[in-house]
């Protein structure tokens, strides 16, 4: 079904592409939100990705590879969106797009908010490789394809991303400790 839509859209069938958009929008938006952590930026990136997909679709040689290929275009759109808005890293909303899970659903060593704050300190490249690997569970080969880098580079970039995340979490932890100590001093005066 999808392949039929892809082939028709490759031949300028706008109706087929609209159906393709509806079918794949949630999948791509989920990834864009995972990377950008902001629903407005994620919506813009997803829309731009679909327009880029439309523009480049005739160059896709194997319609069965549409899903993996579309990640690659989405990643580029997310990079562009991050560059377009310099303050994207620290901003971002935890508004209507983000529905907190019930507390008992999340029994973790690292707190969810800590992860969120630490993740926001990562570069867009590090966020992307973590999202592709952890959210989508893509194998290394497909991560390499989505990022347009050699397969051997995926492992080292992922390793650096995890180290950066660890450093961000430790920095967050130090900041929290300092703030709470300062507050205790203020209160005790």
């Amino acid at each position: 079904m999808d392949q039929d839509l892809v082939v028709r859209a490759q031949h300028d069938d706008q109706q087929a592409f609209q159906s393709l958009t509806v079918a794949h929008h949630a999948r791509l938006y989920r990834v864009a939100y995972g990377i950008l952590r902001d629903r407005h930026l994620a919506e813009d990136a997803t829309q731009q990705a679909f327009l880029d997909i439309w523009r480049n679709l005739p160059t896709l040689e194997d319609p069965s590879r549409f899903s993996g290929w579309s990640y690659r275009i989405l990643v580029r759109a997310c990079y562009a969106e991050a560059r377009r808005k310099p303050d994207w890293a620290r901003e971002g909303d935890i508004g209507p797009s983000h529905v907190p899970a019930a507390p008992d659903e999340y029994d973790s060593v690292v707190d969810r908010d800590q992860l969120e704050r630490g993740f926001r300190h990562l570069s867009v490249e590090h966020r992307t490789i973590i999202v592709l690997r952890c959210l989508l569970d893509l194998p290394m080969e497909q991560v390499a394809e989505a990022l347009g880098i050699p397969e051997g580079t995926v492992g080292s970039r992922l390793s650096r991303a995890v180290k950066a995340m660890r450093a961000a979490l430790e920095a967050e932890s130090r900041t929290s400790t300092t703030i709470s100590t300062t507050m205790r001093h203020e209160v005790s005066r």
């Binding site: 509806v22 327009l51 899970a101």
Partner: protein
């Protein structure tokens, strides 16, 4: 907590996170509304002269005898055949190419004694290699880098001319059957274009393109750039690197849109291209 544990935590966090999704139908409508003004890329830059292998009538044996039948013109004038009407691999062309190669080789042989006057043979620079002809098919390959596409509108009469500039695309063709092993290896082509669309025209009128070929193998590499305007044929000088340092491959490249392949032929010469001459004196 080690790296694997942290990865597990992040996997759990990302996968369990509940994200409110936008209305896909509404998003689809918004995107669809932009499609009429978003042109699909049609690889216009590949619209080089087709390898017009005109089918021969059955029973015709000698390709040199065959010419397309003139179609009687309605105005009584003798029609003029425009463009390529015979195979690129016809015996006539092969003989012509052979003669050209023989002439170039002869020129090198004649020039050699003058260039080596006073030298002890084999004691200094090695003798230049004779020119080596090559040929082969370069097949289209997958796109490995996706660039950008930007449109500019210029007022033209009551409408606009659109100029679409595409930059940063790269493909990986392959040429396993290239006759000269020095030109075998990993092929890549990057191509940028400016396509000019006059008002009301869907297909681009003119494409100005700039391409760069690169071939890499264990011994060295070749690289060369060229420009095209519309469907003009191209000659690409590939400059050798590594073991091919000092060599130049002069490639005549003709693209077939139907086969999605370039037919390459040319010479590998043991020298660079001649310098451009000075402008004529007044």
């Amino acid at each position: 907590m080690n790296d694997d544990r942290l990865l597990l935590e992040m996997r759990r966090w990302l996968q369990e996170e509940r994200v409110a999704l936008p209305d896909a139908e509404e998003a689809g409508r918004r995107i669809a509304a932009k499609l009429p003004t978003t042109r699909q890329r049609r690889r216009r830059w590949w619209r080089l002269p087709r390898l017009a292998r005109t089918p021969r009538p059955s029973g015709t044996r000698d390709t040199t005898e065959y010419q397309p039948s003139p179609v009687p013109a309605t105005n009584g004038h003798t029609p003029t055949a425009i463009g390529r009407t015979t195979s690129m691999l016809s015996p006539v062309k092969a003989i012509t190419a052979g003669a050209v190669i023989f002439a170039i080789s002869g020129a090198f042989l004649i020039a050699q004694p003058f260039g080596q006057q006073g030298r002890v043979p084999g004691a200094e620079a090695p003798a230049p290699l004779p020119p080596e002809p090559f040929s082969g098919i370069v097949h289209c390959g997958g796109q490995v880098a996706f660039g950008t596409s930007e449109s500019l509108e210029f007022p033209m009469g009551e409408a606009n001319m659109t100029v679409v500039s595409e930059r940063g695309d790269t493909w990986r063709p392959s040429a396993p059957g290239m006759s000269d092993p020095r030109l075998q290896g990993n092929y890549a082509i990057s191509f940028d274009t400016d396509a000019y669309y006059p008002p009301g025209v869907v297909d681009s009128l003119d494409v100005i393109g700039a391409g760069t070929w690169r071939i890499e193998n264990d011994e060295g590499a070749w690289q060369g750039s060229y420009h095209i305007v519309g469907g003009a044929p191209v000659v690409v000088p590939l400059v050798g690197e590594g073991a091919y340092d000092g060599l130049t491959a002069i490639v005549e490249s003709a693209f077939s849109e139907s086969d999605c392949a370039w037919e390459w032929s040319g010479l590998i010469i043991d020298r660079g291209l001649p310098e451009y001459p000075e402008p004529p004196a007044e």
